[in-house]
Amino acid sequence: MFSAVATGFTDALRRLGNGSIAAIRRLGYASLFGVAVVRETPAAFARLNLTLREIYFSGVLSLIIILVSGLFVGMVLALQGYDVLQRYGADESLGVLVALSLVRELGPVVAGLLFASRAGSAITAEIGLMKATEQLSAMEMMAVDPLARVVAPRFWGGVISMPLLAALFSMMGVFGAYLVGVRLIDIDPGAFWGNMKAAVDFRFDIVNGIIKSIVFGMAVSMIAVFEGFDAKPTAEGVSSATTRTVVESSLAILALDFVLTVFMFRGLGV
């Protein structure tokens, strides 16, 4: 009786230890992988054709979803914001509300989440399938480094695309808010743009938003290429790796957003 409990207890401890070691080992492997990818940066830009192709796949092909979502997010933000602001007679601050929320938070974060599910998952699936069909091993046999040939261009393609997509998202959002606020609700366009311009600061709001989107782009791209590279070379393995990419990227974006916001906007007096 007593020995059975003791065995069960040791087993549980052993499982916990096993899991912790595996998690830490994976983290270490991911860090080494990240360093190796960044070290292959010259390769990604030396063969620019490969990186351009990846900008096309993760950036250009994400344009439609980013533009349409940005437009709708801006329009909804304007409707909801107007509903609250007009209770205080401050409906002319609608432009400020929409522009600040888009440029500081929603642009980088929502564009990042869309980017993770649209482009990140595709990158993981592609690299995972390359591994499952032994294309990566074949490259190594031909003395071609898959990190330089496959992984680094995808990583940099994502990092370059992400800030541009976030800026487009914010721009479409402001445009959507303009359509709803000025055209539909009939706020004075001078007050809409003027208040917005007076309140949105280039250095504090726009540059910080761009920094956020670059950080999110790096996080999402790195997670996507790592999960693809680390996927079990089976159909199941690729599918679970793709899921992990979307889940981990989304969590990483939201957590990083909190950390960055604390450092960027604390003590600003706003």
Binding site: N49, L52, R53, I55, Y56, G59, V60, L63, Y88, G89, A90, A99, V103, I160, S161, P163, L164, L165, A167, L168, S170, M171, V174, W193, M196, K197, A198, V200, D201, F202, R203, D205, I206, I210, L268, G269, V270
Partner: protein
């Protein structure tokens, strides 16, 4: 997916161009890139007994026109006065007897510094201090004052 190099270049070029265009739009149309940072200017100081809700980056206006921004707010430990450093844009000069007052645009609007130039011939130099200031109006104090006055006049009846 077989894309020819020129089609690929065209798409990526278009994408990068409109992306950079969006950043430019945000900087110029949504933000205030033109009126921030790059403008050279000089600094003046003003001492207030109470600055109310004034914050760093609040505008300084003369006749309603933005002429500068609050750069720094600190407390003078000797006099317990708030010392506000205002950066005035290059090109605007103010007389030494300019009155600085802390105002609010509308009931819920932003707090700003209003500058009313006087008739003195001398202009404030870089780092100069405004002698005449008017502190912020604190609504609670006004109400308190009103209640005290009311009680005093009521008691006299």
């Amino acid at each position: 997916m077989n894309l020819s190099r020129s089609t690929l270049d065209l798409w990526v070029g278009t994408f990068v161009a409109i992306g950079l265009g969006a950043i430019l739009f945000l900087a110029l149309k949504v933000g205030n890139l033109v009126s921030f940072g790059s403008v050279p200017g000089y600094r003046i100081e003003a001492r207030f007994d109470n600055i109310g809700g004034l914050k760093v980056r609040a505008p300084a206006k003369a006749a309603g026109v933005v002429v500068g921004r609050v750069e720094r707010i600190r407390l003078d430990p000797a006099t317990y006065q708030a010392v506000v450093t205002i950066k005035i844009d290059h090109g605007f000069q103010f007389t030494t007897d300019t009155i600085a007052s802390i105002l609010t645009s509308g009931l819920l609007g932003e707090v700003y510094i209003g500058l009313d130039a006087g008739g003195d011939a001398k202009m404030l130099p870089d780092g100069g201090t405004l002698a005449k200031t008017q502190s912020a109006v604190i609504l609670e104090k006004l109400i308190g004052q009103f209640l005290v006055d009311k009680a005093a006049s009521g008691g006299g009846k």
